[in-house]
């Protein structure tokens, strides 16, 4: 509750309603959704666009970011740039009453603040932040009840996956989300924090990079050999991003148990790179890859 009222008060400050009013209103969160209703929302980040549609606020979204592809009905909306190239002029012209942007878009935020356009900054981190964002964004937009239902459903689905794999041995796994095509150079893997790490732990694996407290780790072949994962999972946005020759590059590291036991697995799909409402689906696919015997 405190978090919700904090978010709302932040939003109100952004509207220029004044510090005192915001502080007073933040003590009365139950009265706020009426004031915080947003009807013309621009969402620049794929995950928040997905969240808004999944919580039933899709009809209030008037524009989206360049890389937002889900749900299909969102694709009809105009696009206003993305993380590094938001089209501020276009955004201002559309007269939004809420712009959902990423935490690092500080310049965009400053300009929106100057134009008195309310905005909601979001930054993804762990799995828990996804449901937390759904709840606070829902409250901010004025659909708190359906957002709560969505968040609770997600949490239930994740808890269910956790329960299904709870009694299984946990393989040491490495999540790779990028490397130079056709080689093992510049391997990017998920480190010990962030939603990919949380997904892996929920799916019944032990993250071989769990001790490195970073979202992404630039890995070398020596590290892969030393950490000796039982399973290597390659995550990609789409099938076009990788081919069979690419996957066979791993065969050079024959001493790695995952390579020796043919457990280098490719999973493709937007849900692996967008920390939004489809994260339960992604976690289930990951769990099925780690524990095929449970998810027959």
């Amino acid at each position: 509750m405190a978090a919700i009222s904090r978010t709302i008060s932040k939003g109100l400050k952004a509207q220029g309603s004044g510090l005192i009013l915001a502080a007073a209103l933040s003590l009365l969160p139950f009265a706020l959704p009426v004031h915080a209703q947003a009807r013309r929302i621009i969402s620049i980040i794929p995950s928040t666009t997905e969240m808004l549609f999944a919580m039933g606020a899709g009809d209030r979204v008037i524009a989206i970011g360049s890389y937002d592809n889900y749900p299909p009905e969102a694709r009809k909306l105009p696009r206003v740039g993305a993380l590094i190239d938001p089209n501020v002029e276009q955004i201002l012209q559309m007269r939004p009453d809420l712009v959902v942007l990423y935490g690092t878009q500080t310049e965009l935020k400053r300009r929106l603040d100057r134009a008195n356009i309310p905005n909601y900054s979001y930054a993804h981190s762990g799995l828990a932040d996804i449901t937390q964002t759904i709840r606070s964004l829902g409250t901010r937009v004025g659909v708190a009840a359906s957002a709560e239902a969505l968040a609770a459903r997600l949490e239930r689905q994740l808890a269910d996956i956790r329960a299904r794999v709870a009694k299984r041995p946990r393989p040491k796994a490495l999540l790779v989300f990028g490397r130079e095509p056709g080689s093992l150079r510049n391997i990017d893997a998920s480190g010990g924090v962030g939603f990919l790490h949380d997904m892996l732990e929920t799916a019944g694996g032990t993250d071989v990079l769990g001790d490195i407290r970073r979202q992404s780790v630039a890995m070398t072949t020596e590290m892969v050999l030393a950490r000796a994962p039982d399973v290597i999972v390659e995550l990609r946005y789409s099938k076009d991003d990788i081919n069979n020759a690419d996957m066979s590059a791993w065969n050079r590291l024959a001493a790695v148990p995952a390579v020796r036991n043919h457990r280098v697995i490719l999973l493709t799909g937007e849900e692996f790179v967008v920390p939004g409402p489809r994260v339960a689906q992604a976690t289930e696919r990951l769990a099925a890859a780690l524990h095929p015997e449970v998810f027959k």
Binding site: P181, R185, I212, R214, T221, E222
Partner: protein
């Protein structure tokens, strides 16, 4: 004027000194890494290679890195010496003529277009970056053909800077159109990495590097004369235009080979020749071989630091070359004053 035997003696001393350094560094570097391995197991033939983690760390992860660092370091240092002598400019480097910019553009195109093919075991990014460097070499070469005899090397230098700017702009435009992940991969490539993971890209880069070395062997005497001025060189019977072209092609091939293998760790190409000149003097008969050996040792040491200093993760080697090289160079510059 030093006598022939004096030069021979100094060459022997220089080669022995820098050779010993390179040998020691090559021997030491594969022994150290982010993980500890048992050397008794590395060379234990009774364990099959596929099951021998220590042997794989040594032969698949570390040794190719050391060899790649040696090739990249030597290649960039040699090109640096030649470009500086040819253009008679201490700030000339392997990127002055846009070769590295061409290589970077090639790599960016492959990373952004999601191109994915291999040729003789070499993956797409080294191939396209080499193609990019040869492409920019072709432009520079066309410039040098079009250039009338007798104009100053400033024309070539400025022409190269213009080409580099053009290719860099094209690269930035591609990056601007690319999405965040592709841009991130490009930035990663630009920081340089020697974790080549196999011997195929090293062997492939040895072909252009070998051709370049044949060219370099013919250069020391004439570069010494050209350093004094083109007219003075011509007066002593040097075919300046021919020498210039051999030097351009060799240095560009060597840069292309190095950048396609390790990324643009270009600082090596500016700084190593100057470091070596501060130690052995300006005679190219000494500077060329010493730069090759010192460039190799320097990059091997920088890579050793890059892969161990914040273990278990790594620093990009390009950052280390500048952090170590900058102060070391300043010390050499100011030590005697």
């Amino acid at each position: 004027m030093p006598g022939r035997s004096d030069v021979r003696r100094r060459l022997a001393v220089t080669l022995a000194g820098f050779g010993a350094l390179t040998f020691a560094v090559c021997l030491l570097a594969p022994l150290v890494g982010s993980t500890s391995i048992h050397f008794s197991r590395v060379f234990d033939r009774s364990i099959p290679f596929a099951d021998n983690v220590d042997a794989q760390v040594f032969f698949v992860a570390r040794l190719p890195r050391v060899v790649a660092a040696a090739v990249v370091g030597a290649g960039l240092a040699l090109s640096g010496v030649v470009f500086q002598a040819l253009l008679r400019n201490p700030l000339a480097s392997p990127d002055t003529l846009g070769v590295a910019a061409g290589a970077s553009l090639g790599a960016m195109l492959a990373l952004t277009a999601h191109a994915d093919f291999t040729l003789l075991g070499v993956s797409v990014v080294p191939l396209t970056s080499f193609a990019g460097s040869v492409g920019s070499l072709a432009i520079v070469f066309a410039l040098s053909l079009a250039r009338r005899r007798g104009t100053s090397s400033t024309v070539l230098l400025l022409g190269g800077i213009a080409i580099a700017a053009l290719l860099n702009a094209a690269g930035r435009f591609i990056q601007y159109l690319a999405d965040v992940t592709e841009t991130f991969r490009t930035v990663q490539w630009l920081m340089g990495s020697l974790d080549v993971g196999s011997y195929a890209p090293i062997l492939a880069s040895l072909v252009p590097f070998g051709i370049a070395c044949i060219g370099f062997v013919t250069l020391p005497r004439v570069l010494d004369l050209i350093s004094l001025g083109e007219e003075a060189a011509e007066a002593r019977g040097v075919d300046v235009v021919r020498t210039e072209r051999i030097a351009l092609v060799s240095a560009s091939l060597s840069t292309g080979a190095a950048v396609s293998l390790g990324g643009p760790v270009l600082f090596i190409g500016i700084i190593v020749p100057h470091m070596v000149r501060l130690i052995v003097g300006a005679d190219h008969r000494l500077v060329l071989p010493a730069s090759a050996l010192f460039g190799a040792s320097f990059l091997i040491v920088c890579d050793l630091i890059a892969r161990t200093i914040i273990a278990p993760v790594e620093m990009p080697v390009g950052i280390i070359t500048a952090i170590i090289g900058g102060p070391f160079f300043l010390w050499l510059l100011f030590r005697g004053r």
